[in-house]
Structure formats: C-alpha cells, structure tokens
C-alpha cells in the first residue's frame, strides 16, 4: 500500500501548473460572472483541484469520465481546451457543448467526457452503462465517475455501486467529500459519515485519501485503476477535501464558519505544492513567474476566444432534440 | 321599448323569446316587436338574468317603456322573480338559437359545459363557409350537434334548398309574424320622408358614368365562376361609393342638434324595395373594408333576409349613408330623398346603352346616371361634385375595388 509515487522536477511542476490553471481560470470565471459575461449557476472548485487532477493523472485517453455540475476542474484536468470551456460559459457556439450547457454541462466526445451532470447522483447510473459498454466494446477502459458526498443520500448511489460490483464493471467511483452538500453538513445528512464504508457494504474495494494532496490522490487513483484494469471490478475512492468558495455564486455560507474555512485553507494544495517545489529546488522564482505568465496568457486567450465567439442561430433551437444519426 | 328609428314612437310586443330566469348576454335576441315598419328582433345590450317580464305579448308600448327587468350578474334578484327561476335557468341552452328548435329537443348530455351564447350556434366549418358565401347563420336551422348549424346546412342553404329557420315552427307561437306590414310601412315612409323634405335643404347633382369598362371586367370575372360566386354591378357601385365616402367623410354621418357628426364607419343603407310595396334600407357594415365577393355575399344575404323579414333592429339603425339603385328594370335616373338624420343619398339608375363620345368618336357605350342628394346644411355642391367624380374614378378601375 505504500507505493509512494516518484515525483520528479517535471511531474511536480506539471501538477502545480495544472492546479494553477484550474485555480486562476476559476478566479477569472468569478470575475466574469460578476461582470455578467457568465450567467446561470456557477459552482467553483477552489480547494478541490487536487482531486480532479490526481484522478485524471491516472487515466488514459481510452478511459471515460462522468463529472458533476462542479466540473471546471474535471474538464481542465481531463484536457478540454480552456477556450472552449470559456466560450461555453459565454453561451457561444464554439463552446464545448455549443453553448447549450453552460458551466454545469461541459461535454467532449473526443475526450470521452460524458458531461457535467446537474442532478446529484444522476451520473452514477450513466457510468454503470458506459462501463457495461466498455467491458464489451473496449476491454480495459475505465470509467471514472465523480460525485460529491451528498450523492450518498440518493438511491442511485447505492443501486449503482451494487450493480457495478454485482456485474464486475470497470468503474472508478470518486467521491469528492467536501463535507457539505450545498449547505447540508455531512453529519446532519448521513448516519454513517464514513462514506467509503458504504461502498464496503457492497463489497467494493475502497479507500479514503487526503483530497488536498494531489500526489496522494494520484497514487490512490493509480492503485484503483490498476485494480480495475486487472479485472477486479469497481473501486471506490473517497477523497476528503474542502471547497474554499461558496457552493455557488449566490451563497452567504451561513452553514459554516470563517474559522473553519481558514483552517482548511492552511491545507490548500497550491501553496503547499509551491512551497514543496521551491524547498526541493524543483521550481525557481523565475520558473514560477514563467508558469504564472503562461497560465495568465492562456486564460487571456480563452476569454478573447469566448468574446469573439458566435451566438448559435435561433433557427438551430430545435436541432439535436432528436438526432438523425448516432455520432461516430 | 327600444327606439329602432328616428320615426318610431311605439311598438307592439309580439313575442317573448326569454322568460323569467333566462340568462341573457349582450347581443341575445330576447323579443320580437312589431312596429309600423314591420317586425324586429330586439337585442339586449346587457347581461344578466331576466327577473321580470313587464310587457305582455300583444301589448303596445311607447318607446322607452320597460319591457323587462334584468338582474345583473352578482346582483340580488328582485323579490318579484318567480321562485322557480333557479332551476329554470337553462345554462346549456343558448337563447339565440332557441327559436326554431322543437320543444323537447334535448341538449345532448355532453354539452353541459356549453355556455349560453348570443351568436347563432354553428360549427367552425359552417361559420367559415357561411362567411365565404355571405350567408347569415341566423337564418339557418341547425341540424348538427346540439342544434348547431353544420357545414352541410350552410351548403344546402347556399344551394337554395335549406329550410330557413322557420318562425312558425312548433317552438314559436303561430301569432308571430316576421314580414313587414305594408300599411304600417307606408305610414313609416310617409313620416320619415315628410320629415326629410320638411327639415332638410336638399341639393341634387348628377353625373353620367361610362360603365363599359367595369361591366366588361365584371363579365370576365363572372365567366370563370360558379353562379354563387358571381358579382352583380350593384357590388361595384356600392364599393365605389364606399371608397369615395372615405375620401369625403363630410357626406357620411348625421345632422344632429344643429351640427354635423361624422360617422365612425362606412355603413351603407341599401335600399330594398319590397314586393307589395314599401322600402327598407338596412345597413351593410364597413362596406369599404369588404372585398367585392364578401360584399356580394352580404348583399345577397341582406336582400334574402329583407324578403323573409329577418332584418335586425340594429341593422335598421346603423346606416350612415344610403344608396338606392333601381336595378336592371328601373328608371334611367333616380334622385333620392335623404333619410334623416343622414346627410346624403346616392342614386343609381338603370344601365342604359347610348351613343357616347370616346376619343372624338361616337360609339355605343353602357352608361349609368349617378345622382347625389345631399343636405346643404352639412355640405356644399362643390364637394358633392368631387364625390361623384371619385365614384366614377373608382368604377373605372374595377380590379382595384
């Protein structure tokens, strides 16, 4: 169990840069939301970046991803271009869902990204089906299914883990346990607050991991994926994490204290990673500035791309309600 | 007792079509009143429940005398209302179509949600077809669902074969008369025309209009069409007059209280002479807005109803101008007498064939003499002349009518 991943200069800086991309991208989203460029619900991932990133590190192109409505981090870590994500939030045709989904519904067929799903627990059954298909059509492929701890209250959570285990399906269940289902604290919602134990009840291999540490998450995810690819059926990974920002943009956070947030911020993966890289001389101040400049430039381009994007014609409103063929 | 004309002083209630407890809506026909001009259906302009019938059938009453009392929606019924009223309210039975329906004909049970309606009950298909043909649904007896007029009823009527709504059917007492009493009418015409000649300083103008072009157009128009779609010259004359009136609104209106009041629409009274003597001039509404074909339909309908006595009181009250046309067997010209309080009347003579000079050549042409009699208090001869020219101008472009 102690297969500590080897972090070299390159992979360390890669992890840091990816988390920074997510963090800075979302800071921009918050700004653009207040400037009314982005509308609808906007759920930010600040604090949880290590989860998406660590899991995606363990996945391959052939694998599938089912995300939640807090899907910016999943999409960026999965490699969806920032520009198409920003365009999506602008509601532009160049967006990754043609401007039809917005922040909560990023889709990308090419990257097997099966959508941000805005029904809590709604993505788990989909993951079961994708894994069924993969088992027959793409042996070895894994479906990573993200959901929050709030999903544990839904019947679909239990039904899905049971079915995956029952049918030996290649599903990686990733529970992003950030302690609050919107404003509902875990201990007020669940009689058993140890989520991974629920998976154990279905005999599914499971593990709880520090979701504030990308290296730990990646290590756990690799163990999980190896197990799944080894034909051992599903795997349940509980990542204990915390979101620093409110649930969505319009949330007064009455349900938790500032002190609690500050306490968790001490475990913020970004400064910790940066500090560690600097201390181990894997990141010079100049390199840091370079990374930051790269990220800012990428975000700038994404915003410009979104600004220049086209609005879908209203005549297209009914297009794809029914489709003419199954896309290949 | 409503006033149906300036010259009406009293009327005799012939028949009640409602009874205490009847629910009535604006536009419902509630009674038949006989006047010196004949029998008229009396419409109601309020809604509510009839609480008391003040007049008895056969009673003669002065204009203004109450015929019935009405309780408005939400009001308490007056104490005199018969006790049986509540269960007598036939919510599912529209008052307007009760006429002509056999007693005991029951509304089908499915119809229980149908609200009373002032309109004749007719299916949408029938309504559309009747509109196209210019047939008044009031004149038809429905054979369809819940006594409604169906498409087949309309088409049968258009073919001339429909039994019109029969006033002497079992539902209506035999005493009810729908025709015009020639003696009464003579008196009415005498009163109105005397008043006209006494009060109105008429001036008269006449122009001869070359009808060759409009008639040729009419012939080719009619050639491609079935009889029921064909036009008569009257439709052209009427429409041209209406369009000219739009240009000269000073002739379209009323002289009242010492001043001219323009009308708010071009509602032309069309003079219809009745067999056995007499004349009525009920209104065709918004003539300027009709197409020629719908105007033709309206004309046919109006003449048909004038023959059968189905003219509504309001139609007699509405004209804002009158046209009299002698038709194809009349005199060469006619100079009308204005129907007060209107301020003008247009007269068209018979179409005559006469030598006429066109481009310096004498040729045979079809001519019509158009005349205008107008109230000199409201307008002057110059304007009248311009109006006649306008009528001519519109007639020369029949395709634009």
């Amino acid at each position: 169990m102690s297969q500590k991943p080897h972090i070299d200069r390159e992979s360390g800086r890669h992890l840091f840069k990816q988390m920074l991309r997510i963090r800075r991208f979302e800071a921009k989203c918050a700004e653009l939301y207040q400037a009314q460029k982005i509308r609808g619900f906007l759920h930010l991932y600040d604090g949880e970046e290590a989860v998406a990133l660590g899991v995606m590190q363990a996945l391959e192109d052939r694998d599938a991803v089912v995300a939640t409505y807090r899907d910016h981090g999943h999409a960026i870590a999965r490699g969806l271009p920032m520009a198409t994500l920003m365009a999506e939030m602008y509601g532009k045709m160049e967006g990754c869902s043609r401007g039809r989904g917005g922040s909560m519904h990023f889709f990308d067929r090419a990257r097997r990204f099966y959508g941000g799903n805005a029904i809590v627990g709604g993505g788990l059954p989909l993951a079961i089906g994708i894994a069924m298909a993969d088992k027959q059509l793409r042996p070895g492929a894994v479906t990573a299914c993200f959901f929050g701890e709030g999903a544990a209250g839904e019947g679909a959570f239990h039904e899905s883990i049971n079915l995956a285990e029952l049918w030996d399906l290649p599903v990686l269940f990733v529970c992003e346990n950030n302690l609050y289902a919107m404003g509902m604290p875990l201990e007020l919602a669940e009689a058993e607050t140890n989520i991974s134990r629920k998976a154990a009840a279905y005999r599914t291999p499971n593990e709880a991991v520090d979701g504030m540490n990308p290296i730990a998450v990646e290590a756990a995810a690799r163990r999980a994926v190896d197990s799944i690819r080894g034909g051992n059926g599903p795997y349940f990974l509980e990542c204990r994490t915390y979101r620093f920002r409110a649930h969505s943009m319009f949330d007064a956070q009455l349900y938790r204290t500032r002190e609690e947030i500050e306490l968790w911020k001490e475990r913020d993966p970004l400064p910790r990673m940066q500090k560690w890289l600097e201390e181990t001389h894997m990141l010079s101040p100049q390199e840091l500035r370079g990374i930051e400049a790269d990220v800012e430039a990428e975000i700038g381009k994404a915003v410009a791309f979104a600004e220049q994007g086209q609005w879908e014609k209203i005549e297209e409103l009914e297009r794809f309600v029914l489709v003419d063929e199954v896309p290949e | 007792m409503p006033s149906l004309g300036a010259d009406m002083e009293s009327g005799r209630l012939v028949q009640w079509l409602v009874k205490p407890g009847s629910v009535v809506k604006k536009g419902d026909v509630v009674a038949v009143v006989e006047t010196h001009k004949g029998a008229f259906e009396i419409e109601i302009f309020e809604e509510g429940v009839v609480s008391e019938l003040c007049a008895k059938e056969g009673e003669e009453l002065p204009v203004g005398a109450p015929l019935a009392r009405l309780t408005r929606p939400g009001e308490q019924s007056v104490p005199k209302a018969p006790k049986a009223a509540p269960e007598a309210i036939p919510v599912s039975v529209p008052l307007a179509v009760e006429v002509g329906r056999a007693p005991g004909t029951q509304a089908a049970p499915l119809a229980s949600f149908v609200q009373p309606s002032s309109r004749p009950r007719a299916s949408p298909a029938a309504r559309r077809r009747a509109g196209e043909l210019g047939i008044d649904l009031n004149t038809l007896k429905g054979t369809g669902f819940d006594g409604s007029v169906t498409l087949a009823d309309v088409e049968l009527a258009a073919a001339g074969g429909a039994p019109p709504k029969d006033p002497s059917s079992a539902a209506a007492p035999a005493t009810r008369r729908r025709g015009f009493d020639p003696n009464e009418m003579r008196l009415a015409i005498a009163a109105a025309m005397s008043r006209s000649k006494r009060e109105i300083p008429h001036y008269y103008l006449a122009s001869t209009i070359d009808m060759s072009r409009p008639l040729a157009w009419l012939e080719s128009f009619n050639r491609q069409r079935k009889p029921e779609e064909r036009l008569l010259p009257a439709a052209l004359l009427l429409k041209a007059t209406a369009l000219a009136l739009r240009e000269y609104p000073q002739l379209n209106g009323f002289w009242e209280d010492g001043r001219f009041r323009p009308a708010d629409g071009v509602h032309i009274g069309w003079a219809i002479s009745l067999r056995g003597g007499g004349l009525i001039a009920p209104a065709i509404h918004e003539v300027d807005k009709h197409s020629l074909q719908s105007l033709m339909g309206a004309l046919r309908d109006l003449v048909g109803r004038a023959r059968s006595g189905g003219i509504r009181g309001s139609e007699m009250m509405d004209p804002t101008f009158t046209v009299t046309s002698v038709g194809d067997r009349g005199a060469e010209s006619v100079l009308g007498v204005i129907y007060p309080p209107q301020v003008a009347i247009m007269g068209f003579g018979r179409v005559i064939e006469r030598p006429w000079i066109v481009d310096g050549q004498v040729t045979a042409r079809s001519l019509i003499i158009a005349s205008l009699a107008a109230d000199h208090r409201a307008s002057d001869g110059h304007l009248g002349g311009l109006f006649l020219s306008a009528v001519d101008r519109f007639l020369q472009e029949p395709e634009g009518l």
């Binding site: 889709f107 805005a118 029904i119 709604g122 059954p125 079961i128 059509l137 | 498409l151 087949a152």
Partner: protein
Amino acid sequence: MKELAANASTNRMTYREACRQAIREALIDDPRTLLMGEDVGLYGGCYAVSKGLLAEFGPQRIRDTPLAEATFVGAGIGAAMAGLRPIVEIMTCNFSLLALDQIMNNAATIPHMSGGQFAVPLVIRMATGAGRQLAAQHSHSLEGWFAHIPGLKVLAPGTIEDARFMLKAALADPNPVIIFEHIVLYNAEGDLDPDVTSVDIAKARIRRHGRDISILTYGNSLPKSLAAAEVLAAEGIEAEVVDLRVLRPLDNATLFESVARTRRCIVVDEGWKSGSISAEIAARLSEDQFFELDAPIRRICSREIPVPYAAHMEEAALPQTPQIVDAARSLVKPR
C-alpha cells in the same frame, strides 16, 4: 443456429409472441443489443414476453437486474451513449416513475445539451394500461406523460404487426424510444401479413376508413374503437379509426387530414383526461383545424380516479365501446 425459423412458418401469433420475436430478431441481428430489466431472465418476464430467451442468448444478453429502476435505466442510457444498443424493460409503467429522472434529465436531454455530441440510441419497453384487475398501482397509462418530453420518441403498438416490427425500427433510431405494450393486448392474437417485414415509427395509420367521424386512438383503445365503428356502421355512421401508433412526435398530418375530411372527431385515450395526450390532440386540432370542424371535439378517457380492483368498477373506470358509440352518435346524428 439462432434463426427465426421456429415460428416463421406460422403467421398467426399473439401480441406477446410478436414482442418476443421482435426481441429475438434484434438480439440475433446485432451483437450490441441486450435485454435488461427486472425478471426478464430466469422468470421469463413478468408478462412472459422474454420467456426462453435466457436459455437462448445467455445471461450477458438477457440481464436480470436488481430492483433498481433508476440505475438500470440510467445504465441503459450510458451503455447506449457508449456504443451498445440496449433494450431496457421496465416491468410496468408505474415503476418507470422511479426512473423518470434518468429518462428525462439524461436520455431526453443529453443529445441536445451536449450540442449533438452524444446520442442515446436506447429502447425502453414498458407494460402499460389497465383491464386486468391489478388495482391502482399497476394500472396506469402514462404514455401522455412521456409524450410530453422533447427528446423522446413514444410508441404504442396496438396491433400484432406493430408489436412485431416496431422494435426493429426503434432500435434503428438514434434517439431514445419508449414502447408502451398494453397488458390486455398481450393475449390478443392475429395473423401477420407475410409480406410485411418492417413498419415505420413516424406515421399514424388509418385502421378503418369512414367519412362521418374520426376516432383517434391507440393501444388497447384501438380494438374498442374498431368495435364501436362496427356498431356505428350498422346504424349508417361510417367511422374512421385512426391508430396514432406514435405518440411523440405526433403525426399531425394524418390526424389533420382525417379530421378535415370527416369534420368530427373523438379521441379515445386510456390515460386520464386532464393534461393527457388526448388533450394535446384536441388542442392541436382546435389550433390548426378549427375551421374544418363541424362539431365539438370529444374525448373518451379513463375516469379521474386511481383505478380500482373490483372488475365492475375497473370496467366503469376505463373507456369502453358503448361510450364511443354514444359519443359518435351524438356528434353525427344528434337527434
């Protein structure tokens, strides 16, 4: 080895057998197809539609699921998105409510919301309707509810032929298709035209021609309407019976053409009247065909009650032939 020869020689079969043959054919034709649902395997299907298929196709193709409608329907959706062509059976449509979230929020939504990147070529079969004394929780007709949802196609086979061939067309369709099989029809028996090997899932069908009134119906109300037409014919009223077949998208053209011709119409629908497919049809007719109508549109629907158990009560709750006859009479020959 797996051939349709077993029953191909005889053209007479029950609706149930037709459904089974349709599934067999699909499983033989396409290795991506599987049947999944509660008791479809060992038990042979609640209504015995899939009896014998487990033995023939094995547990990978005939999958018994736990009692977890949300998940096995959702799994069908995911599997369809990822390349399979699943047939999901929901035992009876009342259980479909447990899967409604998946059907509405995922199956019907994702193709459009993903900008056309993903399709959901899934078929969901469910048993529907009343008439077997199954009481209030097993006697629903929820076709109208599903027909409300953009992104779905909703089919209602009312004949042996449609039961036999609609599935093939549904599986060939790239969209999620729901097939409602009426429980009373499963035992209905009829002859298949040997020349017919497929049906469309786009058009309504005129099952009986007539000039006086159009009876628009589907499912188990179809035989009731045809019976009513027989009675009416004896009285000189020629009723046209139109089988809707496809409840979403509705085939306006066929319905409008029929009603514009007969000018009178009755909609017979086993669903409740309020907010039903019959309401939708009546509304469309009055919106678009108002001036063609020669009589008010009538609807014969189930009484607005939870369907009771006792036979006489259940019968009284459902549309029946005499009501259709009476309504037609009142519209065509009012006196």
